[in-house]
């Protein structure tokens, strides 16, 4: 079963695969509870929340995922995280204000560090789009590039 995570959304699953397509400058953040065998995947667009708690932002997306996994019976100490995305898809910087991709990745690292969640693997940066699959049963993450290459992280 494939569950699609839209842009700016978080989804939780205990079986099947969570999928988010077309990560450009955004980041796909996966958090896995290893005892509970439950996974959460976010497709976050911007580094820091402006106060509203939505999955649009890296910091609030992580908060929502942790709270949801704990609400399902998970333990914060069992959480691990993986992240993919944060590319620079525009060749001309005039189009992009703030190098959002890099800042998103930095925000993921900081937010996870602050919350004591271990970031076990990542595939970030570059200049091409990615699609991410996050397997709820075991926390594996498959990254597929727009050019067709695949990478397990």
């Amino acid at each position: 079963m494939e569950i699609i995570v839209g842009i700016g959304e978080v989804k939780i699953a205990r079986s099947g695969v969570l999928k988010t397509i077309g990560l450009g400058s955004c980041v796909g953040i996966g958090i896995y509870e290893s005892k509970l065998k439950a996974a959460a995947l976010a497709h976050a667009m911007l580094p820091r929340s402006n106060g509203s708690k939505t999955a649009k932002f890296v910091d609030s997306a992580v908060e929502i995922m942790v709270e949801s996994l704990v609400a399902l019976g998970g333990d914060k100490r069992n959480l691990i995280a993986k992240v993919a995305g944060g590319a620079q898809v525009f060749k001309h910087l005039t189009l992009e204000n703030l190098r959002i991709g890099e800042r998103n990745v930095e925000a993921v690292r900081e937010t996870l560090r602050d919350r004591g969640i271990r970031l076990v693997s990542e595939d970030v940066g570059g200049n091409i789009g990615r699609t991410v699959y996050f397997f709820a049963s075991d926390g594996r993450m498959l990254v597929r590039y727009s050019i067709g290459d695949e990478l397990w992280i």
Binding site: G8, I21, G22, C26, V89, H92, T94, E96, G129
Partner: protein
């Protein structure tokens, strides 16, 4: 976001107004294109879709598509949004217009330039604002990754995109083009103001 600025209760009349906006924009583009290549080209917008950011994956796919991105600057308020023009049939379009398949990228770039500046002028006229488009930038990646990176630029102050499904015709050949307007909240409010003046 302010409830008044949401597209949730958009009416059939408002969709028609957007379609009209799109048709005016592409009509200008078609006449410029016709002049440039010396063939009669017609363009129309048969359909307009208003989509929320979280629904984007329903309209944009993982396929690699050639496109052109332009940033829109409003004279009073600065960066106001983006235009992303997708050419799913880029090769066919380039062949049709210039009959030289070695120049696909530069042809697409030029067509993108013409469409975005015409479109930009039409919108600005209709809304009574001054809009300045940046030089277009060629994009070649999953269309959903490009639109996502654009949307991220306005995500703090916007949640909606407007997709103008466009058809370009030259004699019996028809080619689909997708023109997507990604407005920030302020820009969207101008569009809603235009709706407010209807009827």
């Amino acid at each position: 976001m302010d409830k008044n600025l949401s597209f949730e209760q958009v009416s059939a009349e408002e969709i028609d107004a957007l379609k009209e906006l799109g048709n005016i924009g592409v009509a200008h583009a078609a006449s410029s294109l016709s002049t440039m290549i010396g063939k009669i080209v017609e363009m129309s917008v048969p359909n307009v879709i208003l989509a929320k950011i979280s629904e984007i994956h329903k309209y944009f796919q993982e396929k690699i598509v050639t496109g052109v991105v332009t940033a829109l600057e409003e004279v009073e308020n600065g960066r106001s949004g983006y235009l992303y023009i997708l050419f799913p049939e880029a090769k066919k379009l380039a062949n049709l217009l210039i009959e030289d398949s070695t120049l696909i990228d530069s042809t697409i770039m030029e067509i993108g330039n013409i469409i975005s500046s015409s479109f930009c002028n039409a919108i600005a006229d209709m809304l009574g604002i001054m809009l300045i488009p940046s030089p277009p930038s060629l994009s070649e990646d999953m269309s959903v990754a490009i639109i996502e990176a654009i949307v991220a630029q306005i995500a703090e102050k916007g949640d909606s995109i407007i997709i103008f499904e466009t058809e370009l015709k030259e004699k019996d050949n028809a080619i689909d083009i997708l023109i997507t307007l990604v407005p920030d909240e302020k820009f969207l409010s101008y569009i809603m103001k235009m709706f407010g003046m209807l009827g």
